[in-house]
Symmetry: C2
Subunit: 349 residues, 2 copies
């Protein structure tokens, strides 16, 4: 499998289906793991990194329970290929920017990834569209068990899984949900929402995880505690309490927009559609914001002639890496803005 | 004549005709005059102000050479009427905000105004569309002479006309030209242009004169020197040197936009048109900026199906005072933004 096999289609976790799909884009669980007998990566020689990489690559590519597993070498990838992989959430920005032997195994139609030599030796990740953390947990747990048949993880009976950063110690789990909250933003309730999340000890991040701001009204909510808690309890709390509560906030904000703020809503939607259909130069940030408004309009049934799949496709395909991979070459910013605008215009008109 | 007789039509000086009309909106000359035997206004009692007001009102309304002269009482005008008069440049912001007996005589289809008790006892003003300072000067000179048949101005043989502010002393003349310079702005050459004007001892002001910033790429250029110069020399220098030089700068910037910056130009024009045709809420500032881009597009023959008269009409009629006078009542900001967007949308679609 090559990256270009992926580049023209929407990743499955972003297909707009699943539970609470109008507000919950996707669910994701990742586990941080390290092999016993090797240093953590900050104290690892390149030879050791290569050994770790090859070990996990072999194990994962031969794991029966993974479907269509493929390995992508990040160290030797071209810059636009790395950007592309970040855009599809196959790898993290951190991994794209690092050096040394490292790579990612992708399987299950991009719903499973395993970054090798990111911050830990191994970062497993399962994704699903909509609110589906239980399914993510079942799948990742199953894969993790299968790997443990072949590899001895660094594990302490009292502390649990040992990780490079103490914030991941114990379960090594990160449960996160990507939410689309344009109405909370439009009604100026984001600060309140973020403060409430912090109080519940949840991290609020942007579209591309740690260190990225919220772009186009997309937010990732994730747990911060990994030590002394059961994985199932975190998953259950997210599924039954936290996410439904946030979804309700956003729904109430959308109802407010339908009512007293109707003119503001109409204006935002009309502007987004007009600019997407007519502008000649669109930056990736602006595209995110405009498509975000459009997505809300479609989900609120205010815009009826555009399928949500078209919008999701445009979200993904108009990112800089996708544009360049699909053109097969590097493009200057101005050229990308032109191509992005043309792509959107053609698709929407 | 009532204000509502004016409110639905475009002022003649803004009709988009005349010399260099694609860049020069209008030419304007004003003369500052005071009656001998009265204090300047800062030291004037209300009784004296009333006497001055009545005196000039009578003289001006009975001046044979003025066509359709009408008087508007500013002191007793409603707030939206004052706003309306400022928007049409019948009175200054300063006069709208002041107190005490004051008013304006309007004649010649709004191409002549005489503010009574603004900063000086009398401020005469003639306007023309396009570059037409010589015609403005001939007309104002003729009117000024006619007034002098009836009123003795405060005049000193050595200093010339005495004025409330020493910056107007001597000729009391202000020659100014309203320019539309969107390409200089788009190509980021405004700072250079403003610095050049300052070097030539010219004042650069916004759409509504002193103390107002440049809105929607409109700039007023005017002389600063009034003492020890002949009026005809100022008019000639503006007509033959200063304005043609600025017009050439703007033209070169437009050519640049046609060439290397063509995509940027296309984008600005497409965005302006899309937003004007589709937005549901438009503020007066945004309307100015968008209509400004549209005006350039039409003048550059990039937009062909909208007459310049429609754009000029929209510039004027979508201002807050015009919207409210035409509705016959005060409107909240949100209501104005709705009505403005609807007015523009209807006119352009």
């Amino acid at each position: 499998m090559k990256l270009t096999d992926l580049s023209s289609k929407v990743t499955e976790w972003f297909n707009g289906t699943g539970l609470m799909a109008d507000i919950v884009i996707s669910s994701r669980i990742r586990l941080a793991r390290n092999i016993a007998g090797f240093n953590f990566l900050t104290k690892c020689s390149n030879a050791d990194k290569l050994a770790i990489l090859n070990r996990f690559k072999t194990v994962l590519l031969n794991l029966d329970i993974l479907h269509d597993a493929a390995f992508f070498d990040v160290d030797n990838a071209a810059e636009i290929e790395r950007v592309f992989m970040v855009e599809r959430h196959l790898i993290s920005r951190h991994m794209a920017a690092a050096t040394g032997p490292r790579g990612v195994v992708v399987a299950d139609n991009e719903l499973f990834t395993a970054m090798i030599n990111e911050e830990d030796h191994l970062r497993l990740q399962t994704l699903k569209p909509g609110l589906a953390l239980t399914a993510c947990w079942q799948r990742i747990n199953e894969i993790d068990d299968a790997i443990q048949q072949k590899v001895r993880y660094a594990f302490d009976r009292r502390l649990g899984y040992l990780t490079a950063c103490p914030t991941n110690l114990g379960t090594g789990i990160r449960v996160s949900v990507m939410l689309h909250l344009p109405a909370l933003k439009m009604t100026e309730q984001l600060d309140k929402f973020i403060a409430a999340c912090r109080e519940m000890n949840l991290a609020v991040r942007g579209l591309f995880g740690e260190g990225t701001e919220a772009l186009g009204d997309f937010f990732q909510i994730s747990n911060q505690q990994t030590l002394g808690v059961r994985e199932e309890d975190i998953v259950e709390k997210f599924t039954n309490e936290i996410i439904p509560a946030i979804v309700n906030y956003e729904k109430r904000a959308r109802e407010e927009l339908f009512g007293s703020q109707n003119e503001l809503l109409e204006d935002k939607l009309a502007r987004a559609l007009a600019l997407l259909k007519h502008a000649r130069l669109i930056s990736s940030n602006e595209a995110l914001f405009l498509l975000s408004n459009l997505r809300m309009g479609v989900n609120m049934k205010r815009i009826t002639n555009i399928p949500i799949s078209t919008i999701n496709e445009l979200f993904l395909l108009t990112q800089p890496g996708h544009l360049q991979i699909n053109q097969g070459r590097c493009l200057e910013a101005r050229q990308r803005d032109l191509l992005r605008a043309a792509t959107i215009r053609t698709r929407l008109n």
